[in-house]
Amino acid sequence: MNIFVCVKQVPDTETKIVPTADAMFIETSSIKWIMNPYDEFAVEQALLIQAAHTGSTVTVLRVGSSKDTEALRTAMAMGADEAFLVEAQDNLDSYSIAKALKAAIAKSGKNPDIILTGKQAIDDDCLQVPQILATMLDIPSVSVVVGYEGSASEATVKREVEGGALEVYGVKLPALIACNKGINTPRYASLPGIMKAKKKPLTTLSLADVGVSDADRRVKYSNFQLPPEKPPGKKFDATDSTKQAGLVKEVVGLLRTEAKVI
């Protein structure tokens, strides 16, 4: 099977976010980049499918800046066979990214049997690229997937919806599956894996190579701002057991009269 995985490189969760002086994006110079956490589930699922189907290859794709190739190297260290990087600025919108991915898949020369992605990227949290890419490729797809069983031609997947309910889908391949936490437990890259990854092929393409230009931008961001500082809240020390009941009564009263939420 030709297995593709799309990954994104995002700021580490602990990173402090600072808007640029012109407020058109965030400062990216001092950011530590990691593979989007949901994409680890996608890479792991690709490797599990590869292991079940002898002769399969795993190709990993990413659209983004080339100053750090952490996400692609991690995917190859985990076991992916080759990688494609479409060099682009870090603030492309979902439509442009999906269009670039579609073209990069075509450039690989392989017809995908399955494409795996994370359910969303934790930088812009749009939840769009998997659905856009599947629609552009005209293949079926299921998002927020927490369970996968499949053959080389079809799969049964579980999609998590409201209240923890699961929709069980039958899907004909080729298809795109957007993975959520719970689908598997991603492996760690081994030291030999990391060494081997350095020798695996990484092809770099430009946005021009994949036919994406400014005209493809659909979503425009501006005015990046830190959230308004919340005024400090009220804190009550209820460690003294004689005061607890009184304090709780006071807080409940405030929730009604001051916060007006009850």
């Binding site: 998002s143 830190l226 809240g233 209820a238 607890q244 929730l255």
Partner: protein, 320 residues
């Protein structure tokens, strides 16, 4: 004035509350509402009250259950025929999955999960959180129309003074087309309560809950105040609660009116999922827990004594 369609989902005889939030914010525009299936008269009355001029029930075969392709195909035809400038929907499970597909069918753009927006004449300006809510940005759409927008439930709030009006109802036949990913079965969730993403009040437990059985004290509090129970990643990873209950970066992003965090330290991954809650109450034994920096009301104390006292006090307040 823009011509706007709001896509809604039926929930028994009513529509999801986020639809009414969106309608309230669109007062002054020509707004129509569409749902797959028959919109009951109670729902039509609600929609009219909040400003819908026309309510469309879309009917066709293979649309009794959600399918990404079926719903997208059906709505594509309907939207194309209606020449809408904008299509709005709540950022629900269906909304999040369906809208990007629909937008792509029109080669159009979509703003995901905005927490606020204004229409200036025909132009949409949204606000949405990025980088786990660590910053906000203004979002605009360009390129082919219609433009698509999903709205985070509970973020806009309800219009407190909806005007009473009537809406006309219409049925349209729509075509689901070919469906290659089809629901075979639905496994019910553990909870019949409102989903975390739609809940107006959430009571969440963290690592300090110590074991799964202890979540019953949160359930008791939740039952009194009509809340949905959530959990931190630490509690989920420790096996105290299922992943469906997780609030935070690898779980649900929520925006309730009231969020009560019990024994949750407030790791950045957790704050990412709940920082847009309107009022936050935190209960923790550690006075230096980071959650207290985000809490409107912080109670330093043991959740196992404080939570039952809260339950009792709310019972008295609400006359239960």
């Amino acid at each position: 004035m823009a011509k706007i369609l709001v896509f809604t989902e039926l929930h028994g005889s009513h529509v999801k509350a986020v639809t009414l939030e969106i309608l309230g914010k669109l007062a002054g525009h020509t707004v129509e509402v569409a749902a797959i299936g028959s919109i009951p008269s109670e729902a039509t009355a609600d929609l009219a009250k909040f400003g819908a001029a026309k309510v469309h029930s879309l009917k066709g075969s293979n649309l009794d259950k959600y399918s990404p392709e079926g719903f997208a195909n059906a709505l594509q035809g309907f939207i194309a025929a209606g020449s809408y400038d904008y299509v709005f929907a709540g950022a629900t499970s269906v909304g999040k999955d369906l809208l990007p597909r629909l937008a792509t069918k029109f080669d159009a753009g979509m703003a995901s999960e905005v927490t606020n927006f204004v229409m200036e004449g025909d132009k949409f300006f949204g606000t949405r959180p990025l980088f786990a809510g660590k910053c906000f940005a203004k979002v605009e759409l360009q390129g082919p129309k219609p433009h698509f927008v999903s709205v985070r439930p509970n973020a806009l709030g309800m219009n407190a003074n909806p005007t009473s009006a009537a809406a006309t109802s219409a049925d349209s036949n729509v075509d689901a087309g070919a469906i290659r990913a089809m629901i075979k079965d639905i496994v019910k969730g553990t909870s019949e309560k409102l989903d975390l993403t739609e809940a107006n009040i959430i009571v969440s437990g963290g690592r300090a809950m110590k074991e799964a059985a202890n979540f019953k004290i949160l359930d008791e509090l939740a039952n009194v105040i009509g809340a949905t129970v959530g959990a931190s990643r630490a509690a989920v990873d420790s096996g105290f609660a299922p992943h469906a209950m997780q609030v935070g970066q690898t779980g649900k992003t929520v925006a309730p009116s009231l969020y009560i965090a019990c024994g949750i330290s407030g790791a950045i991954q957790h704050l990412a999922g709940m920082r847009t809650s309107k009022v936050i109450v935190a209960i923790n034994t550690d006075p230096d827990a980071p959650i207290f920096t985000k809490a409107d009301y912080g109670i330093v104390g043991d959740l196992f004594t404080i939570v039952p006292l809260l339950t009792q006090e709310f019972k008295t307040l609400l006359g239960k």
